[in-house]
Symmetry: C2
Subunit: 289 residues, 2 copies
């Protein structure tokens, strides 16, 4: 395991920030190259600030390597402080002993995905809109606090072999179920044509079942594909299903000068105003009317 340490040191010429890479290992040494640089105010990497080590052999027992005087604190304010924060970007390139025995990557998601596909040992099923889905209580309970309460607690579902779900579409449940088993999200191609709608449905389902990471994946993807045509719907979804990260981004998007006129006059936004007056109040205070 590696740790990045940031230090500050007082020199006659001023205060400097230092940055170091440290190997946290009691047993093995490792060869690595470390590179660090700062992010400019505009969010772009500042390649002129970059420093990189050669290939350094890090010994066991917390050997560290880097620069005690990476940057002078005085020089930070003009170019690098954004919202009171400076951001370092670091890369670590580690040499694996070419003579070692390679270890394949984690396959727990793949293993559970195969269990889902086989339905071997399934001990619960879900009936949705005429379709039946088989699953394993232990996996659902591990992944979702809501399923845990429903399937292992004292609720009626805990002893029912088949549970009927009314508040979710089969195609949404398929993605939800596979995500719970594999932690994998389908590719953009597999989400179908109306992927924004699908992502909104999934976000709602993730909220319903307490799958926080899935919710943020949906939010991340909805934000990545944001447009003046979708923002009102997405904002309503974020508000309704408690996703403050996405809600705030949507409001930023709406109030941005280049978007505001087109969004404000869209049908979706009018509807949003009717259903969520508090959002309109927030937009109003942001645009300063």
């Amino acid at each position: 395991m590696w740790r990045i340490n940031c230090t500050s040191v007082n020199e006659p010429t001023g205060v400097y920030l230092g940055i170091f890479l440290e190997l946290l290992s009691k047993s093995g040494s490792a060869k690595a190259r470390f590179e660090a640089f700062l992010t400019r105010k505009d969010g772009e990497p500042s390649l002129v600030s970059a420093k990189r080590t050669g290939v350094h052999l890090f010994h066991r027992n917390n050997d560290q390597f880097g620069w005690p005087q990476f940057v002078k604190v005085m020089d930070l304010a003009t170019d690098f402080v954004r919202d009171g924060v400076i951001t370092f970007l670091c890369s670590i390139m580690v040499w694996h002993h070419s003579g070692g025995i390679p270890v394949p990557p984690s396959d727990i998601g793949e293993n559970l995905g195969m269990l889902l596909d086989s339905t071997d040992g399934a001990d619960v099923s879900f009936a949705i809109d005429g379709e039946t889905f088989h699953a394993h209580r232990a996996v659902l309970a591990a992944r979702s606090p809501v399923f845990r309460a429903e399937l292992l607690g004292s609720m009626a579902e805990a002893t029912m072999p088949s549970i009927t779900l009314l508040d979710i579409a089969p195609e949404t449940f398929i993605v939800l179920l596979r995500f719970m088993y594999t932690d994998a999200f389908p590719g953009d191609d597999e989400l179908g044509d109306s992927s924004s709608k699908m992502l909104q449905n999934l976000l709602a389902a993730a909220d319903r079942y307490g799958l926080d990471r899935l919710k943020l994946i949906c939010a991340h993807k909805l934000w990545g594909a944001m447009s003046v045509d979708t923002v009102a719907d997405v904002l309503a979804c974020a508000e309704m299903y408690s996703c403050p990260e996405l809600r705030d981004k949507c409001i930023d998007f709406v109030v941005a000068d280049k978007n505001f006129k087109r969004v404000a006059l869209s049908e979706g936004f009018m509807q949003l105003g009717q259903n969520f007056p508090s959002i309109i109040a927030e937009v109003r205070s942001r645009v300063g009317t």
Copy 2:
């Protein structure tokens, strides 16, 4: 997803190998810096061969960037070909849109680890040497083909609520069980003082339960800590529990000039000779007697 492409191009000045980084995405673009270099014959990185791009914006739809003439084929033989193979080392540094919604890393192992700790919904238990361990059939069946056959098949264990295991120590089973739930391996500190013995026991258990990845992790760690004092035991373990990757490395280690004399005269090696004459035959043919 990224792909690294290697090309060859015929120029008046000779044949060149090219290397390119390609973004495989139908939806998003991404900013990245790509660096590539060759590995020297002795396995060390050749920093003089290194080339790196600036920060390049890769557009959706398979945009690629790199060097059509990375290296002249004629120049490879002297410095870079090892066992008929050349090895490129590449690093890709990707800029995440600082304005995006961050997605936390996969937590499926953590979730299952918490299920193991809570024992909620456990439907099987193991009795080992007076200790009892609770577990979930679905998880064990997903991870181990042997548990799958035992727990979900037609064997007697499939209906037994408690299973007695005689061929494994409790401390080994604890690590095995946690690995099945979390895909995580304990730190070197947690393995105890005689970690080589523990790793050998774990490798044996991984073989018994068909946990191939765990077996390779044990092999990787045993190889990383290999010494003239441990190699005979480790070689016997690799032979007995069918780990050819580790077995071959051990034999390489034994026949190396700097180790051979000390290993050949050790007590462990004498014992190995008695139990596994085929290994001695292989060592004999390798040292050319």
